[in-house]
Symmetry: C2
Subunit: 580 residues, 2 copies
């Protein structure tokens, strides 16, 4: 119990000086690297920049205690920040204290939901989104996030959570365009994009892969330093270049978030969707990294840990957090060994907040916007789009619909549509299961599809193999299939349902089987079962179906054939071709 | 094309005098029997009583043209009426013209949705609700409908769409209690309940089963006549006994319903849920009756026909309609042969509206309430509850949750929760598929679960059979299963995935297979496939998975075993027990 909910007790006792030094080194790197990102994502969520720093302290400590991944780093994340802004925009005015309070409430709700889902082991909820839908959602969100920053990049004030709103905002406020801001923004963008590709060049200049890797990842902090210096040196703030400005030099105020019932009512659905998206992102990431180091994570405990992190965020006047890709990759590459690295990074961010925020005053918003835009590149998955198109047109359709809906109606609708489409697609597939009439391969105990193989069959016996579990979505289809088959074969006396691929018969399918049994009985046709799996048989025995069954339950199709077929009417195979 | 959308062209050419006389007879019976019900359901929906008559004219004609069931009778239906009231109650004030107009708009939206679903062949949507959930929904709705009528029965003015609201309404308005109304109401109730059970007594008195059947079903019309006479004779209207009152003596005004965008926006979701519930009720009913007469119906065309009926309802200032159980049973028992009977009944209702409504003036509402309460008895399914409990605790949990939610939050929430629970349950089941390591049954080409059978196996070869299609909900579980297995078996060199029960590999599962392939490769373990079904193989060839696959694709498990196992390491069976 203790180990389940507090994985820290597993690794802390064996924590030694060597691990400490590795974790400390990683924490220093992470602290430096993620400050710009933390500020940027707070702005993306419509919150004061300092909220991003707050979100990078206590939540990290909570994850140290509850998390099962050794290297996952939690904190603000782009898509979650965008969803936070979308959830709050209609309810409270941006920039007000009420807005910040509502963000904390959102983190609180998300935290409670995630923790409860963890306690009830609902980690499988993440499976409700198929990979193509998640990939489409991430790509479309990336584009939305990038376009949302075009205004900050060019000095144009705009907002909007759909592509149309954003483009309309850009078009109508075009006159706000500020040349100096654009120069800094586009300059930062060009620099950051260059840095991303600088790795090979740096290595050619003789650097080790590790060092060149760090320098390329340090792009944002370098851009921040240079642009801050420029703004300070040339007093560009006076020329309408927006800057981060004054940041309060204290630790996050600890307080219970607002629990106003009407606010909670409005935020329940957004909180659920944010939790879902955050969890899926986070757990995929944690699983990928655990696989690299041959470690294992527990999805249910990850839910609990993310819930704890969000509660910590809520109690420290912050915003919803989740496992962040860029943060985690830096942490992993810097050699973090345990979740303690996260707590050390939290300490680092606290020190920065207390002593170094005056340096951030002149940091231009346009540079942060550029760093957000560059970070969205990792979300775009054009290759996935192409692969899915080749592999399955239906999966591709779900993916495309998710992308289009996210563009047109925002991330929330995109997530809901994605879940709906994933499920609808699967249900549609399983609601018309494949089934085949089989016949005996002459001289053997094997039975194969009569359409594909040369088989022996008997017009009085139909051997029907159903290739799917029987459940509510296909129960009616099964009835239709059997009735149609019986209607076509007037000589029929026996129908054998071969259940080798039936892993489940739910209550709906049981009712259909009873209906089939009764209807066939009216036509003097007996219903038999064959190859019923053990667990399915155990469950059938809980009902009185087997008492009413007009026929028998056979162990194998061969037993059924031997017992039912009539030597006089059986037809020897006449087809002389045999395909697969 | 013509035959698909206008099934009338199939039966009309062979329509003869004999069929005509049967249909006419059924129409007369239906007209007489359903008048009280039509009035009652309109009141249940919060509409003027005459709306129920309007809903029993043009919609029936539309069904004659478009319907595929020979005996289904459309019209107002209890649950749909309750849902109509719930949908409109928050938006417009009951009793106003705007309320009636909104009801027509609801019918219009429902009609458009149903028609579109029919055109796009989305009849399988009905499969999204499992039988236990539908049964729970009907039972709970029945109780809600019955309690909603307690006020009318006792002369207490109350309203509410959840059990709590209703009981609170009864409690707070208890002082309205009207003794005379209660006498009529409870008297009618006792009479109707007695009539339902009078069948055996009447037959013992020498009546034929048909005649006694009709007399028992005529209960409501007899109760209506007697109570109307009493109210008229003793002028009970002056003693605060509520009556139907003046009914306009004209045919329904034909008009386009209000298409106010904000009204439509609010009604979209209720319209969808009403369509879903109405369709499920109607199509189950039609299928049951078609089965009795060895006819077939087309669910997709039924959607189209119900859509047409609702459009007809909308254009004639009426309310949402669907296939009605009680109406249909009367029609079927009265011997209707074709949908023409519906049109004749529509004519009958029109004649009643024009010439006989003055007779209805003194009909007490309490009697109508009693007839509604009695009609809900057919919705209660206590036996289903017990059966489901015995057969499957999970299905029972979904059923119970649907019932509780319907009581607490109303029918709309009940439907949505029902759909959600049905799906969640199924996904949960398939997200953890059964899988088994199999070994060779000595001396044969058969492979069975090593846990259950005496088999020959090889520590370097794992033969893993997965008993489920591989799709997004279980893709991650498959990865976990394989990794856990490999971690336990250090000697492993080959993993063979036996795919005989895999009917589908979707894009998510493909990614998981690729991840498994790569990860096993890291550990010098080869991944092979065996018994891949034809269509699955065809789809795999659309991706480059097979190019990267470290192992081979074998036709059968036996082929894989022969190629991979090592005579030196293979272990002959040592267990001497053999179970099923």
């Amino acid at each position: 119990m203790l180990k389940r909910y507090f994985p820290i007790v597993e690794w802390l006792p064996s924590y030694d000086r060597h691990t400490l030094s590795q974790d400390l080194f990683a924490a220093v790197i992470v602290t430096l690297m993620v400050i710009p990102q933390a500020l940027a994502y707070a702005l993306l969520a419509g919150l004061p920049a300092v909220t991003g720093l707050y979100a990078s302290m206590l939540p990290l400590v909570a994850y140290t205690v509850f998390g099962t991944s050794r290297t996952l780093a939690v904190g603000p994340m782009a898509i979650v920040a965008l969803m936070t802004a979308a959830a709050l925009s209609g309810i409270v005015a941006t920039g007000t204290v009420a807005y910040s309070e509502a963000a904390a409430t959102l983190a609180f709700l998300s935290g409670v939901m995630l923790m409860l889902m963890g306690v009830f082991r609902l980690g499988f909820f993440a499976n409700f989104l198929s990979h193509p839908v998640v990939s489409g959602l991430l790509s479309a969100s990336g584009v939305l996030i990038a376009t949302s920053q075009l205004g900050n990049l060019l000095g144009i004030s705009m907002s909007g959570f759909t592509l149309i709103e954003q483009l309309a905002g850009l078009a109508t406020h075009w006159q706000d365009f500020n040349g100096l801001t654009a120069l800094i923004g586009l300059g930062s963008l060009a620099f950051l994009m260059g840095m991303r590709r600088a790795g090979p060049t740096l290595r050619r200049l003789g650097m080790t892969a590790t060092l060149s890797g760090f320098i390329t990842k340090a792009g944002p902090i370098i851009a921040v330093m240079i642009s801050t210096l420029l703004v300070w040196a040339f007093d560009l703030e006076a020329h309408s270049v927006a800057v981060v400005g004054e940041i309060p030099r204290h630790l996050p105020p600890l307080a219970l978030p607002s629990l106003d019932p009407s606010l909670i009512g409005t935020l329940l659905m957004p909180a659920f969707l944010i939790s879902l998206v955050g969890f899926i992102e986070s757990v995929s990431l944690a699983q990928m990294l655990a696989a690299k180091r041959r470690q294992r994570i527990s999805p249910d405990q990850e839910l609990f840990a993310l819930g704890g992190s969000n509660l910590a965020a809520a109690l420290s006047s912050s915003m919803p957090v989740t496992g962040s890709l860029s943060r985690t990759v830096i942490n992993f590459d810097a050699g973090a060994r345990t979740p303690a690295a996260g707590s050390f990074a939290a300490l680092g961010v606290a020190l920065v907040t207390l002593y170094l925020t005056p340096l951030i005053h002149f940091l231009p918003i346009a540079t942060l916007a550029a760093s957000i835009i560059v970070s969205t590149f990792t979300l775009l998955d054009a290759r996935g789009l192409k692969r899915t198109w080749r592999y399955s047109k239906r999966d591709f359709a779900a993916m495309l619909a998710t992308i289009v809906l996210t563009f047109v109606s925002g991330v929330e609708v995109g997530v809901m549509a994605g879940v709906g489409l994933s499920l609808a697609l699967f249900l549609y597939r399983t609601s018309r299961p494949h089934s085949a009439l089989v016949g005996r391969v002459p001289g053997t105990e094997h039975f194969r599809n009569v359409e594909r193989h040369t088989t022996e069959h008997d017009p009085t016996v139909a051997l029907l193999r159903v290739d799917e579990s029987l459940y509510f979505a296909n129960a009616r289809y099964l009835e239709d299939t059997v009735y149609a088959m019986v209607a076509e074969r007037p000589a029929l006396k026996h129908v054998v349902l071969i259940s080798s691929a039936v892993n489940l018969i739910d209550a709906s399918a049981l009712e259909s089987l009873e209906a089939i049994n009764a209807r066939l009985d009216d036509s003097q046709v007996k219903l038999h079962l064959a190859e019923v799996k053990g667990p399915v048989m155990d469950q059938l025995k809980q009902s009185d179906f087997l008492d009413h069954l007009t026929g028998e339950v056979f162990l194998s199709t061969y037993h059924a054939w031997e017992a039912l077929h009539d030597e006089k009417t059986a037809v020897k195979p006449t087809r002389d071709t045999s395909s697969s």
